[in-house]
Subunit: 533 residues, 2 copies
């Protein structure tokens, strides 16, 4: 059997990304952690690979043979290492678990279909044989979306879509491209680049996440102000289900009833497997302009972003850090103590393509809204480190600290309330556990009616760091829901947000999702335990 190869390097089993990306924290950071968060100086490394307890595969020869009849022998993997690489996603609890050597719940097999037809055949087979199916793209979920839950079935397979990696079609005139679901971010960009196009979708997970995952989770990228959310980009999508296939989207706009694409966007593998999407593309920008700004406080910066959004003056990237995040970013950029930094909030702006024409007008609005230009450098620095954040998390996990992120979105009129509610809930819960946190926040997705709020929280590792985090997470989720905001702006639901779905869409909304699931997946094998309460 060949090694499981891919154009995009495999992620580490116990960390974000690849070993090359790792960067251990230095003495200075350890001192800061000690001073500000009370982190006791102690190494908390991952177990070594041989010490990981990977559950044994329960796959019977009969089911293996049936799977192999569809995808070939080489398409059915049951070795421990491949199954370990599909044992879950990349949330902090996921990583803590794998660092502790726990992989008992690894899937019974990893199956590699190479076409839409093979996906359809696999789903029909799994429905018949009652095998749970967890679709797997880049494996970057931070909400338990790729957790190999059995959901009452005896077997669970990870359906790894990496072989669906073709650029199917480019329609240069209509500026659309049809991409297969298994393409990773960089691969899609490389293929589109040959035609002079870009997708413009650059979430922090870009280097590993897949096109299908972007669609299935309603991903939103760092350049969403210029290129939109991923769900907005999708013109057409092809979905395989145990009960047949769907091919949805027949025009740039339509009034032919409900927009069923919007049922499968965000469906997280629970209603079908997205195998192909047709998305808007843009000419690859020849020039890029960047400018960083400083605002006296977060509220003033947020008001400036609102002015841009409501005056159709957004750059391609617009991103505002609160005071705490600004301080930490500057400290880490200059490798100096945070105490030396001046206050204020950093805003990053970046202009590509058509948006360059509006740079001057945007700058005028930002200046009029209380901003001070810092020039291009700080913005370019952000750009260079834009995918690095998750690596820092692993480094901190090594030194007895815990970092996790969460996000929401709210209307402009409730943004401060939501922000305060989240910060309050995190602080209160972790303080009560004896580990007062550092909470940082930024806005990175801006709409005329409101904005996202993205929080990074760091705290000293307690005795049971997973329980410690879940206690805080539950308090935050409740606070978000009480404030009227959404439980997730772009991380999706997975297992972690499932408890709040009833708050989000109501009992009848949940009943509607269940009815749809019963129609496309009557046996319930698709990604059990995700999305639907």
């Amino acid at each position: 059997m060949t090694e499981l190869e891919h154009r995009t390097p495999e992620q580490e089993w116990n960390a974000w990304g690849t070993a090359e990306g790792a960067s251990p924290v230095g003495e200075e950071v350890r001192t800061l952690l000690e001073q500000f968060l009370g982190v006791v100086r102690r190494d908390t490394p991952s177990v070594d690979r041989p010490d990981v307890r990977v559950g044994a595969s329960q796959l019977s020869d009969e089911v293996r043979t049936a799977l192999a009849a569809i995808v070939g022998e080489d398409g059915v993997r049951t070795d421990d290492h491949t199954r370990l690489l599909h044992a879950g996603g990349k949330s902090t609890p996921d990583l803590l678990r794998r660092r502790a050597g726990e992989a008992e719940s690894a899937p019974d097999a990893v199956v590699l279909p190479a076409s839409h037809a093979q996906v359809g055949a696999l789903l029909a087979l799994c429905a018949e044989r009652r095998v749970a199916v967890v679709p797997f793209g880049g494996g970057t979920s931070v909400v338990g979306g790729v957790e190999p839950e059995r959901g009452g079935f005896d077997l669970v397979i990870a359906l790894d879509l990496r072989l669906l990696d073709e650029l199917v079609e480019v329609d240069a005139e209509s500026r659309t491209a049809t991409l297969q679901a298994g393409l990773r971010g960089p691969e899609a960009e490389e293929l589109l680049g040959k035609h002079g196009f870009t997708l413009g979708h650059f979430p922090q997970s870009f280097e590993h996440a897949s096109i299908g995952g972007f669609a299935a989770t309603r991903s939103s990228g760092q350049a969403s102000s210029g290129y939109g959310r991923f769900d907005d980009m999708v013109q057409r999508l092809r979905v395989a289900t145990p009960n047949g296939e769907l091919d949805l989207g027949r025009g740039p706009g339509s009034a032919a009833g409900p927009d069923l694409r919007q049922l499968f966007l965000g469906s997280e593998g629970a209603l079908g497997i997205i195998t192909e999407v047709t998305v808007r593309v843009h000419p690859k920008p020849q020039e890029v302009e960047s400018e960083a700004w400083s605002f006296p406080d977060f509220a003033t910066g947020a008001k400036a972003l609102r002015a841009l959004a409501q005056n159709e003056a957004l750059p391609t990237v617009a991103r505002l850090s609160d005071e705490a995040e600004t301080m930490v970013n500057l400290a880490s950029a200059h490798s100096v103590g945070a105490g030396e930094q001046s206050g204020g909030c950093l805003m990053i702006t970046r202009y590509e393509g058509n948006r360059i024409a509006g740079h001057a007008r945007t700058s005028e609005l930002l200046a009029a809204s209380g901003g001070t230009s810092l020039g291009a450098e700080a913005a370019e620095q952000w750009s260079h480190g834009r995918y690095h954040g998750p690596y820092l998390r692993d480094a901190l996990l090594d030194v007895n600290a815990v970092v996790e992120t969460l996000e929401t979105a709210s209307t402009w009129s409730k943004l401060t309330e939501t922000c305060d509610a989240v910060r309050g809930a995190l602080t209160e819960s972790l303080e009560a556990q004896g580990t007062p946190p550092l909470v940082m926040c930024h806005i990175s997705h801006v709409y005329p009616t409101g904005a996202s709020l993205y929080f990074t929280v760091a705290f000293a590792r307690g005795e049971d760091p997973r329980a410690q985090w879940w206690q805080a997470k539950r308090a935050v989720g409740d606070a978000i829901v009480r404030s009227g905001a959404t439980i997730t702006h772009h991380h999706a639901v997975g297992t972690d947000h499932r408890a709040w779905m009833t708050d989000e869409i109501g009992d009848l909304g949940v009943a509607v999702l269940r009815a749809v699931k019963s129609t496309v997946d009557p046996s319930g094998v698709l990604n059990p335990g995700k999305l639907i309460p």
Copy 2:
């Protein structure tokens, strides 16, 4: 019982709009109809009101009492005239039928709820008593959407939402407003205007259509280039169903699973009654700039629109008529024979609010794309007559001609193919019936990936004009579907497009819609015979 009153004047029972709007065609037009379409000079007036055969109400005293217990005695109308006013929509076949005195299928009652709670109670009652419910806003459907079909039930009521006419809330900071579903276009604008806002939604039906109807049909207005489609404007919506209510939309963007708002937008009353929507609003524009352009041909004009859309340079209104429509519009504007007109295609552009800043850049792109500016006048003329089109249809029906419209949307790369396919199917079918048509086309909704195509077709009235039109309509629908375009861009499905819904969303898509309907409306009383094949 009081007269059925409303701030917006009632439409005529046998024509579009009000009697004041009517304008009979003159001698010159009759001569042109004779010369170009072979229309035999003959008056074909509507029957008089006393000659209309309004079916008798079958409402039992028991059901009436139960309905009245919810909405009061005054909220249950069974008089012939009120029922006639709810006997269907405003498609040409609808008008031909009523002009012939056929109103046997009028609903058994018109019921007037005054709140969301009353709507919910009525739906529960109707589900229990097995009474079909047809929601009725402005009654402007041109696809049979408000046809009082019984769907196998003994009774059918029209649920007239006119009493749900409040502006519930304005959130000036987030630029959203919450509107009740029964508000008509002008009423909503008047209420929002007091707060300095506009919705920016101005479809040709604006003067009579309702907010709930805009949402339930995915309406798109003439200013969609600037303000978007109605479905894009909706942040939140409240829906009453026989099985409870839905309150959907908790943030400016969300990844909390499928976007269930998109199931109820475009649901045409078949999945619930939308009682309230929260929509984006915009500062009421202080200035407006208009400019008309001439293009040598439709393809060149379309390419110019594509350049605008793909370069983020669209005005608020962008509208391109083909050669035939340009000729007829100019002829009717100047009251001269069409033969005197020069060729070419007219494009209307209009700039409001933020878009004014882009006028110069847009003009540059249009000039570079082969356009010649005609100045403001022709564009302002269009603006003055923008809601007049449907009145002309009634005038032509009086003089032995038939006019109807239909629309679709296609990607830029297939736009010409779709346009030719529609024109070909209409021409072929009506020629085969001995009545070669005049087919006019315009683009009025433009996207980066494609555009709408709106067709107006005029022809000599045959012996059975409804059968004559349906033969053509069937051929066109098939042609649209074959070309890969959508069966409707903004008129919705109703009864008329139902036959093509399987082409649009596939068998499994239809099964999904049925499953959703079974969940929210298990007895099937909601708007039978619409939307779902």
